[in-house]
């Protein structure tokens, strides 16, 4: 049996037994649905369902490889894009390890140049070092470091949505995407009508884009003769406090290379490093703004603007400002992993274990031949690394390897 048939059968069985795990979106009749199919590999869009049962029947019958729905509400969801009649849209955020620098450097990912076949590890370069081609086949892998990084960004985002933008925990829905990240969705009637410019402002807010310390308390105070600097404090609200905490975090570990990169003078960098402890202690009083000789408003401005990157949430910016976006439906399987997109209350964000709770296939063992795969964990078990070898593995691990095109089935019984 070929891989696709095997995966499709497993998906089919899952949906037949677990169709009620699907989280039917609010106002289902106003949403557009989209699906990708195993064989055709094309996206079927502009689907509409009046009631949950029709949607569930459709999924059981067609067994799509991916199921999406619109964050937007339309008067005619089945119509062509121009004729749908946009009524509003939830506020949606996508945090994906693909868009975030991670400590693992994505060494588990590989890319192959479509032009000359040149191969490499990590994120694909902009241009092929061998032939300057710009198109690559990329193989990504599921990695705990990547997932942890995405979780941290999600925590920062949710924090801003609650503390700064004032949304209540009830209005915020978090979910694991089923692959390398998290989704955060705000459902509130107030934000429905926000146009894409307003959404873009929210994007800039949570990513700290365009921020300038001089609007957050950094200023020169004085009469010309005696001038001193004032700046934000750790406990200030909004970006003021975040900016201060970002600087704190940055200076805690900053090396002289980090500081020189900001364009600070050698002497100043030396003084900062020599006074690190005093600087950190100064936050309890008036902050470090007047401690370092030769470091004035412009220097601090650079440090703060950089410190902001420690506090900003690295979301996929295009997704949020697109008011027509399709997003994965919670309770459905991800075609690249066989893991569930699964929602959880924001109170669980710290301890939610995606590689345990998103497992969809819980029984059965299958023998596969694995080409190559790094070690990975699912639930309590660690598998691999594998290199051109046979292995008998639980179904969830098998589906993951097959979805990633890293293995093929030997035994055909599920």
């Amino acid at each position: 049996m070929d891989n696709l048939t095997f995966i499709r059968e497993a998906f089919s069985k899952f949906y037949n037994e677990n169709i009620d795990r699907i989280e039917v979106p609010k106002s289902i009749g106003s949403r557009e649905f989209g699906f990708t199919m195993f064989r055709e590999g094309v996206m079927v869009r502009h689907k509409g369902f009046i009631n949950p049962e029709d949607l569930k029947e459709f999924i059981k019958k067609n067994v799509p490889s991916n199921v999406y729905y619109s964050a937007a509400y339309y008067s005619v969801p089945e119509a062509k894009m121009d004729e749908k009649g946009w009524l509003g849209s939830d506020l949606f955020f996508d945090i994906d390890a693909d868009h975030i620098p991670t400590k693992c450097d994505k060494k588990h990912d590989t890319w192959t140049c479509r032009g000359c076949g040149f191969k490499g590890r990590g994120e694909a370069p902009e241009k092929c070092p061998s032939c300057s081609g710009e198109s690559f086949d990329e193989k990504t892998w599921l990695c705990e470091v990547c997932l942890e990084t995405a979780r941290n960004e999600t925590i920062k985002l949710v924090d801003m949505l609650m503390d700064d933008l004032g949304f209540s925990p009830k209005e915020i829905k978090c979910s694991f995407s089923g692959h390398r990240g998290y989704h955060v969705q705000v459902e509130s009637e107030y934000i429905l009508n926000l146009d894409s410019n307003a959404r873009k402002e929210i994007v800039d807010y949570v990513t700290g884009t365009g921020i300038d310390a001089v609007f957050h308390g950094l200023e020169e105070i004085g009469d010309g003769k005696t001038v001193f600097l004032a700046g934000p404090s750790l406990n200030d609200a909004g970006w003021r406090g975040r900016a201060a905490r970002g600087v704190y975090e940055f200076l805690l570990t900053a090396t002289d290379i980090d500081l020189k990169k900001l364009g600070l003078k050698k002497k100043v960098v030396e003084r900062i490093l020599a006074n690190r402890d005093e600087i950190l202690a100064s936050w309890k009083v008036n902050g470090p703004w007047n401690m370092i000789e030769g470091l004035g408003l412009e220097g601090w401005r650079k440090i703060i603007n950089y410190g902001v990157t420690f506090q900003s949430a690295k979301i996929d910016t295009v997704v949020t400002s697109d008011v027509h976006r399709l997003i994965r439906l919670p309770g459905t399987l991800h075609g690249k992993t066989g893991l569930l997109k699964i929602s959880f209350p924001i109170s669980r964000i710290e301890d939610f274990d995606p590689l345990r709770e998103a497992l969809a296939f819980k029984s059965g063992e299958v023998e596969v031949y694995v080409d190559e795969a790094p070690a990975f964990r699912l639930g309590d078990d660690v598998f691999g690394p594998f290199e051109k070898q046979k292995a008998v593995l639980p179904l969830s691990a098998v589906i993951l390897l097959l979805c990633k095109n890293a293995a093929r089935v030997i035994d055909q019984h599920v």
Partner: protein, 369 residues
């Protein structure tokens, strides 16, 4: 209880406040209480009102930056208050987009001048008129003073139109869903809200109520204005296209695009095909779309040429009919002519004809006179 009264039943906005903020509903109440109707403008007793109304518009066109004057000694409070709705009617009858925007801006800037130093409770009262969720604060953080906290969505509605760095929300103190602002900032945001509100009031449905006698005054005013408009930077889209003859739906889409506001795909398609059909050059349309936040010259050019029938298909698209526009929520079908047409192009052709005829008639009149 009237919204202009507080718990003690005492008015928050006095008559002299309504002179400053004539767009407030209390001013409209006052107009109603005085039983003032547009026909009264022909009555010699109301001559000062008509005169002041004309002056409001002329001031808007002659000052730079535009601002309507405030001189409490020159006109009585009633003349001031009544002349505002009268000026709206005149501005609508002038049926010129430039006059409309300029006048709305001039009134809004006048209001800003007062709001900057207005008392907190009055500002909250006025902001409430526009549905703002706002409260007064008396807060100082380090060296910055904050006077108000405004719901961030109400903030975004107005601030996204400003492009200075300081108006980016990320450069504001935002906490618990509110943006912390100085009085000056709130006044500036309110100016924007007032401007849009007044613009929305100046529409053809208002002008349809004008009595004959007043129309003569409008014609005079048109002549005065046309000189002023000529001095202004050219805004007319092309000599043969009469944008004053646009139906409300296209007028709205057109000004949204011009202001760089977001317009749906359906809206863009409708507007583009409409403009092409009334004879606007593709090049001019591309320029028009240049202000859009997501403008991409290559894509815009392709789409416009596609609709024009130059690329890909041979057929030129006609704009959608009123029915279709209605289902997209793009129909503003507010005026009389709208009720008699089923297609925005029909609307345009009829109105444009009456414009051209109108000009000829006027020339005849002058010859005879």
């Amino acid at each position: 209880m009237n919204s202009a009264e507080n718990m003690e039943g005492e008015r928050i906005l006095t008559l002299s406040d309504l002179v400053k903020y004539p767009f407030m509903p209390e001013a409209a109440d006052e107009v109603r209480r005085l039983d003032f109707r547009i026909e009264h403008l022909l009555n010699p007793d109301y001559e000062p009102v008509l005169e002041r109304a004309e002056k409001r518009i002329i001031e808007a066109l002659t000052t730079n930056p535009p601002e309507v004057s405030y001189n409490p000694h020159e006109y009585s409070e009633y003349v001031e208050i009544l002349s505002f709705p009268a000026a709206i009617v005149l501005a609508a009858a002038l049926a010129n987009d430039y006059v409309k925007r300029r006048y709305a801006l001039a009134e809004a800037r006048r209001a800003y001048g007062f709001l900057r130093t207005e008392k907190e409770d009055k500002i909250i009262n006025i902001a409430g008129r526009f549905g703002w969720r706002i409260r007064a604060l008396n807060m100082q953080i380090s060296f910055t003073k904050f006077d108000f906290a405004l719901n961030f969505i109400d903030y975004l509605k107005n601030a996204t139109l400003f492009h200075e760095k300081e108006w980016k929300m990320v450069n504001r103190l935002v906490h618990g869903g509110e943006v912390y602002l100085s009085k000056q900032d709130v006044a500036r945001l309110l100016q924007e809200e007032v401007r849009r509100y007044i613009e929305s009031k100046i529409n053809l449905s208002v002008s349809s109520k004008i009595p004959e006698g007043v129309l003569e005054r409008v014609e005079d005013l048109k002549r005065i204005c046309s000189e002023k408009i000529k001095e202004a930077p050219p805004e007319q889209i092309s000599s043969s296209v009469i944008d004053d003859a646009f139906p409300p739906c296209m007028r709205e889409l057109y000004s949204a695009i011009k202001a760089g506001r977001h317009v749906s795909h359906a809206g863009r398609f409708a507007l583009t095909s409409f403009l092409l059909n009334v004879g606007m050059e593709p090049e001019a349309i591309i320029d028009l779309f240049r202000k859009s936040p997501d403008f991409n010259e290559r894509i815009a050019r392709y789409q416009i040429e596609h609709i024009a029938g130059e690329k890909g298909s041979r057929t030129r698209y006609t704009p959608p009919k009123c029915d279709t526009l209605r289902t997209h929520g793009l129909c503003l079908g507010a005026d009389n002519l709208c009720g008699r047409v089923r297609h925005p192009l029909t609307y345009y052709l009829r109105r444009a004809k009456s414009f051209r005829v109108g000009e000829e008639e006027r020339i005849d009149e002058i010859k005879e006179g």
